[in-house]
């Protein structure tokens, strides 16, 4: 196959949309940001709000690394625009727990060595919290299935399963008693 490619349509390119004030409630705090409307929630968190705990692995909703909680539900933050989340309660990994004050899932991930490089980990943990909020997963098979939107290329799935199971089990024991 050979030949000369033609230039793309000579039509006018649209001027980029201007930035406007957007207020996002992240981890219980209001962030007043200047965002163009085409800014994804993921990029708003990482590049504008300085919260780089939320990771970008594909930007297409395929890997789950950017998982955050919006009003308690887990979503891929790369698949929503920041402006659409005004007024919502956004929780990122930074909001779940901090060094010295770890969330039970964070501690369980450390104990079970549920990560290696750590890049998918914030998304895994937010996803696990979302899973617990959904109240669906109880058996190992259910956890495996419902944690399958989060890819871990290091292959730490056994640790992830055991970490999530430990917290789910403790939760159900607490609920029963």
């Amino acid at each position: 196959m050979s030949g000369t490619s033609t230039p793309k349509s000579a039509g006018q390119s649209l001027p980029p949309p201007p930035a406007a004030p957007v207020t996002l409630r992240i981890n219980g705090q209001d962030h007043h940001l200047e965002l163009a409307p085409w800014t994804s929630l993921l990029d708003a968190l990482r590049e504008y709000a300085g919260l780089t705990g939320t990771k970008k692995g594909c930007d297409h909703g395929q890997c789950g690394a950017c998982t955050v909680l919006v009003d308690g539900k887990r979503i891929n933050s790369c698949l929503t625009l920041a402006v659409l989340q005004e007024g919502a309660d956004i929780t990122t990994i930074e909001g779940l727990g901090q060094e010295g004050n770890l969330h039970p899932l964070q501690q369980a991930f450390i104990d079970h060595d549920a990560f290696q490089c750590g890049y998918c980990t914030p998304g895994q943990i937010c996803s696990a919290q979302g899973l617990i909020n959904e109240g669906k997963a109880h058996t190992e098979d259910e956890i495996r299935e419902l944690m399958s939107g989060n890819i871990c290329r290091c292959g730490a799935y056994v640790g992830i399963l055991n970490a999530v199971k430990e917290v789910v089990d403790k939760k159900s024991i607490a609920l029963r008693s």
Partner: protein, 743 residues
């Protein structure tokens, strides 16, 4: 009192765990330095041809777009190839981004758009018009079957295959004989973190370059040579790497482009590649292999031939050791190994976890299973009968080899003796059940590395070496080694890495970090220990007076006599009375050429697998994997196990899922995203387990470690393939085993 500061061999959690689980760990594209501008790469849609014109005007007219870099405006840079050669470059001429109008491979970076925001840079890149003149490309290795050649010198670590005896004569004596072809397609590393860099442009013109790399020194060397900078002008930092698997061994084009933009614009620049672009800079090559072997009446291998052919680029000659392992894993008098490459219009392949061995062991170990069946022997028994007591490639004894113990331990735990020999013998409901076995061998390497250690009056120790942390556990094992050497609790020790202001370490690859950097850390802490002993002996009536360094040990925060533990001083007292604010030592470690000459140093493994195959759907479920590894001393049971668990996941992926598919009409990988490039998710992984057999090795290096990042991958894909045969009676010789191969 027994020791509370023996950390090596235990299972402490990762010291960087809290940083990773809270999002506090900073990866390269996350250093939010002030006044950042953003780059976005434009990739070539054609595989071969010329760039006729870059119509940058329309894009440059958009407010906020700062520059479009391309071959049309890149300033004169280093001229000779050697300036672009990194530490692990293969032979040939390294690719130079934005160098000229030539397109050499699909998705080649052809322009970099820089703008005030990421969104704007992405938009501008999407509308940038570029005219190309396409020419005919060749991307299919199948068309090059008769066109391969034996590579020249190859890259570091490449060993041309050694032949011995006369394989044809050996095969002619054989009673049983097999000859088959084995194929796998291209695979891409696909670490979770996108390749990216943040270049901090300081007011004095110096750069701090946060780059995704497995070797900060390798990148510094590249940048200084290409851009004519001094080392002081280009500090390279990588504190955390979101997975590498070999993808970050060589400096990638985000480094070149972001440094170029920072220097030209005199601004701080961030550049992240897209997931699609992650398929544009190196891969495990599509490889065609043939294995032929024959056995005598007792099942002894009499002759073995193994040949391999894979692609390289037009501009570099990539090599990996694919066939050599077949000359050393089993005993065989007559062996013929042949390795060839053929140039195509693709980017140069790139070392990917267990490069060469993952490929070669797949072919060898499936062939061994076929041979065992042809000879009427249990596949594990067949391997035992051909056990290599020495490395026949090099005619040397192994420094240690506990593979037989691994066979025994694995067979016992897996229940291998209950395996029926015949295929299709076990059914559970509508699932055919099969068991398979396979294994591998990998180099136990060591490189030169340096380290520095500083202890302060409060008893806190800081040790540093510019190694990498890509999930392997470097922070943790180095902390363990340092703390144990000086008898401190792990909490008293901080290990620093990934920064060219620290002592030099080799690239993080080849499974050699534990041996290389670990030995340097140990030797440095010992050097510091000698200084501390001297200070301790200066104390008034020191119980250690006259003691030599060999006579004392550092345990529980004390220095004490080995022969009389009551003769001890508290380390912190020594530091405080010495009046010194801090005491420092540096040292390095390198491989011992004498032991290297004398011994063959390798790790081994054996993998047992159970699969369940739905015959109507052709789906394969890996229900059980046991990976038994003999890799010397294990420094941290927890992180080592995780590395091998990860290797098992990789092996399942290689066997059943992973393949980058090229559309040869376009010379382009078509499934270049995470939705279509399949890797396992949590639901794909069932009962997988790891066992380390005890293997003491006094020769391999001062720590007795062999490295475990790669050996665990070997044998997994072959064991799954063999288990599929045992389950179904169908022999698959091309990976991945998609369901069409079983229907």
């Amino acid at each position: 009192m027994s020791s509370t500061t023996n950390h090596v061999g235990k299972a402490p959690s990762r010291v960087e765990g809290p940083a990773k689980v809270t999002g506090a760990a900073k990866y390269s594209a996350e250093f939010n330095v002030p006044d950042l501008v953003y780059g976005y790469v434009v990739s070539s849609p054609i595989a071969k041809g010329k760039i006729l014109k870059i119509h940058a005007d329309k894009v440059l007219a958009i407010p906020g777009v700062l520059q479009v870099f391309s071959h049309e405006n890149v300033p004169g840079l280093a001229w000779f190839d050697k300036s672009y050669k990194d530490d692990v470059a293969p032979g040939g001429s390294p690719f130079r981004p934005l160098h000229d109008d030539e397109v050499k491979f699909s998705m080649q970076p052809v322009a970099l758009v820089v703008a005030d925001t990421f969104e704007l840079a992405r938009y501008a890149a999407s509308i940038l018009d570029i005219e190309y003149k396409e020419s005919t490309h060749e991307t299919d290795i199948e068309a090059k079957r008769d066109d391969g050649h034996e590579p020249g010198k190859g890259k570091t670590g490449y060993k041309p295959p050694v032949r011995r005896g006369n394989a044809n004569k050996g095969l002619a004596k054989a009673e049983q004989h097999i000859k088959q072809e084995y194929i796998h397609g291209a695979q891409h590393h696909n670490p979770m973190e996108l390749f990216g860099a943040t270049v901090h442009y300081h007011p004095n013109g110096k750069l701090t370059i946060y780059d995704k790399t497995q070797g900060v020194y390798n990148c510094q060397q590249y940048v200084t040579k290409v851009f004519g900078l001094s080392k002081e002008q280009a500090r390279v930092v990588n504190l955390y790497m979101g997975g590498g698997f070999g993808a970050g061994l060589r400096p990638q084009y985000e480094l070149f482009l972001s440094v170029l933009a920072a220097l030209e614009l005199k601004r701080s620049v961030r550049l992240s590649l897209t997931r699609q672009q992650m398929f544009s800079f190196g891969h495990r090559p599509h490889t065609l292999q043939t294995v032929e072997m024959g056995t005598g009446p007792d099942g002894a291998l009499l002759g073995l031939k193994h040949s391999a052919l894979h692609e390289t680029s037009r501009f570099e000659e990539y090599t990996e050791n694919v066939v050599n392992w077949s000359g050393m894993l089993y005993k065989c008098p007559d062996v013929h190994l042949n390795y060839q490459v053929a140039a195509l219009d693709v980017y140069t392949p790139l070392d990917m976890r267990a490069p060469g061995a993952a490929t070669g062991s797949f072919a060898l170990e499936v062939a061994m299973d076929e041979m065992a069946y042809a000879a009427g022997l249990d596949p594990l028994e067949f391997r035992r009968r051909n056990y290599a007591e020495e490395d026949q490639n090099e005619n040397k004894p192994f420094s240690s080899k506990k593979l037989r113990e691994a066979y025994d331990e694995g067979a016992r735990r897996f229940g291998w003796d209950k395996r029926p020999m015949a295929p299709r013998a076990t059914k559970e409901g509508n699932m055919l059940v099969g068991w398979g076995v396979a294994g591998g061998v990998w180099d136990a390497s060591m490189q030169k590395a340096a380290a520095k250690a500083t202890i302060t009056a409060d008893g806190k120790l800081t040790v540093s070496s510019a190694a990498g942390e890509n999930g392997t556990g470097t922070y943790t094992i180095m902390t363990q080694i340092a703390a144990e050497t000086l008898g401190l609790p792990m909490e008293a020790v901080t290990f620093k890495l990934g920064d060219t202001t620290l002592p030099e370490a080799p690239v993080q690859g080849g499974s050699w970090t534990a041996a290389s950097v670990g030995s340097a850390v140990k030797s440095t802490c010992e050097a510091l220990g000698e200084k501390l002993l001297k200070l301790a002996q200066k104390l008034g009536d020191s119980p250690l007076k006259g003691a030599k360094f060999e006579d004392v040990e550092f345990v529980n925060g004390q220095i004490r006599l080995r022969q009389d533990h009551d003769q001890a001083v508290v380390l912190r007292d020594v530091l405080q009375t010495s009046g010194e604010r801090e005491i420092e030592a540096d040292s390095s470690a390198m491989p011992n050429p004498l032991t290297m000459q004398k011994y063959s140093m390798h790790s081994h493994n054996v993998v047992f697998v159970e699969v369940k195959v739905d015959e109507e759907l052709g789906t394969v479920h890996v229900s059980r994997v046991l990976n038994v590894v003999a890799a010397g001393r294990i420094l941290n049971q927890k992180t080592a196990r995780s590395q091998v668990l990860g290797s098992i996941v990789w092996g399942i992926s290689m066997a059943l899922m992973e393949e980058t598919v090229m559309d040869h009409r376009f010379g382009r990988y078509m499934n270049h995203n995470y939705a279509e490039y399949h890797v396992p998710v949590n639901a794909d992984i069932r009962d997988i387990e790891v066992v380390f057999v005890e293997e003491e090795d006094p020769h391999v290096n001062p720590l007795g470690v062999k490295g475990i990042g790669e050996v665990g991958l070997l044998g997994v894909a072959a064991a799954i393939t063999n288990a599929v045969y045992h389950a179904t009676g169908k022999r698959v010789r091309q990976l991945p085993i998609y369901l069409d191969k079983l229907l």
